[in-house]
Subunit: 342 residues, 2 copies
């Protein structure tokens, strides 16, 4: 099957390419598609040098699955073009996530929403890859919902700069250098991607502000978590913060269950869920730096709220570039191909 | 009135000295007391050079108010010695906070627990200064409790390394240097104060683990918040995290009220509370780096939980060395002296 990556020069696109290299269901190099600005960039795939090409309408001819990670604008433009030509698009942008016609998929939770492609059938479609912080919250929430019933999820995230792509990493680097030089790294000076200085700081603002008083990242957690769990009635609230961590998102979650749940049962439900590892007792946890490079999600600090056996608090970390983006997309692509991601 | 600082060579002790310099109710230099190890250290006070002396029993003779910031062990040893000699001890350690005979004071909340000293009466006592992250949560919680009734506070903190004193700052510095050199800064190599690497990371562990599955910092928030607000029935839960921020603690708080509360009333209640500044609408906030150096507490991101007019989410930041420690202690000392801190 011919695969393609749109946005192949970006941080997530490069991570996708690295994951595709080790997929045994891929027998030919993916097409690497970029904007005209990045066309000509070279990338290595299984020892072979690939050249990024500018995306055009004809580029999608013969493509079975295209992984998109080029931002919402590019997705809105090119996903219909690709699907018209029979390609399946696994889209990592937020462009299609709220579309009722488009499945929003975390394979371990609702992988049954991914059809198995029939060779030569030629009917394309779009599958949306959820927001990075939502994916890692969705797995433990799905585990708890399935076993005990989930009434509410109250979330505070601590998110790495790699969630803002290569530009996010560059901006933190530059801010750190300015601080070390005794300068004030105001964000206008360092690219302005982050609304306030993130170096040696914590910033409770990710994305534009909505009318409801929530920044976009917080709205994503709310809306996407409900859609992934197929629970329109689920109570969700979120405070999303950016912290000076290179890679790996963390979240502190307060989960309100339908019934009191013994902690050993809670930990067993979490640890038994595909893609999830429960670190152990209430004092055990994994940090963002430690989870960076792994495809699994780690849940730790599992404990009851004082005097509430029906409320479970936990800490969850994942590599936001892998399970939060590229790995989740490759898992979806593998399902489309009737294979298993590895 | 003669004042003294025990732990004058530490980060909080030095901050206390700086604040005492500008207090017009202090007409003579404070006695600077330290362990034998730090005795002889010199500090400047209003242009005069002071020499730290080793703490002894006789050191407290004639002292009216002693500010203690030398750790729990020193407090347990020296507070009874000082009070026997008629001194009032404002103790920044956790040694006396849970003692039912000792008031745990945030002046804006329960300053009426601080007696006005009668000159020559010579009856000493202990007043406990709360934990840094608890102080900044206590003010907005008190404001909401007074106006609307507070049922529960669900807290996630993001805490700076200065909360662990000079050693905490040194350890983050060393870890950052090792990272820049391409080394793995495991904590055993950098002092071992932090349980995991904190540079470019987030660590949900502060203090020893309790039997209830909560680390000590989280227990402090729970127990001290109830005591400060005089609300033994208040539901409190906390996840406390250490982040690579030099100074300034942040907390995301979910406050459950007794009744629905319009946001303009909530913001007015917060902004009208002494020592508290409400930053504005739901999108307005202050970051830890921005609050560092200020004595006020800033509350931002004030909004309702979706579909819950009785639940308010907010973000609160304070300088943990000032309002979280030295400033709160100096405020208490000023009250003891019948004066106002400035």
């Amino acid at each position: 099957m011919q695969t393609a990556i749109l946005g192949a020069s970006g941080l997530v696109g490069r991570t996708m390419l690295g994951l595709l290299e080790r997929q045994d269901w891929i027998d030919q190099p993916p097409l690497l598609l970029t904007s005209s600005r990045s066309a000509g960039t070279r990338r290595s795939f299984r020892g072979e040098e690939l050249v990024c090409r500018e995306v055009t309408e004809s580029a999608f001819e013969g493509v079975g699955v295209a992984l998109f990670s080029a931002g919402g604008g590019a997705s809105r433009t090119w996903a219909p073009v690709a699907t018209e030509r029979g390609a399946w698009v696994v889209d990592n942008s937020s462009a299609w996530r709220r579309d009722p016609q488009v499945a929003l998929v975390v394979p371990e939770v609702n992988g049954d929403r991914v059809p198995a492609l029939v060779a030569g059938k030629g009917e394309g479609g779009i599958i949306a890859n959820p927001n990075c912080s939502t994916i890692q919250i969705a797995l433990p929430c799905a585990a708890l919902d399935g076993e005990f019933g989930l009434r509410a999820a109250h979330v505070t995230t601590l998110q790495a700069v790699s969630g803002a792509g290569q530009q996010g990493r560059d901006e933190l680097s530059e801010q750190a250098v300015l601080l070390a030089e005794g300068e004030q790294p105001d964000t206008a000076r360092t690219g302005g991607l982050f609304p306030r200085r993130v170096a040696a700081n914590a910033v409770p603002e990710i994305g534009p502000l909505g009318d409801d008083g929530y920044f976009e990242e917080e709205r994503k957690v709310h809306i996407e978590l409900r859609k992934i769990l197929d629970r329109d009635d689920l109570a969700v609230s979120c405070t999303a913060t950016r912290v000076p961590v290179w890679n790996g998102h963390a979240a502190a979650v307060r989960a309100v269950l339908e019934r009191p749940a013994p902690l050993d049962e809670v930990r067993a439900a979490l640890d038994g869920f595909p893609g999830l590892i429960c670190d152990g007792d209430a004092g055990a946890y994994t940090t963002p730096a430690e989870v960076s490079g792994r495809t699994t999600i780690h849940v730790g600090r599992v404990r009851h709220e004082p005097d509430r056996a029906d409320v479970v608090l936990f800490w969850v970390v994942a590599d936001n570039l892998l399970k939060g983006a590229a790995w989740n997309a490759v898992q979806i692509a593998a399902r489309l191909a009737g294979a298993e991601a590895r």
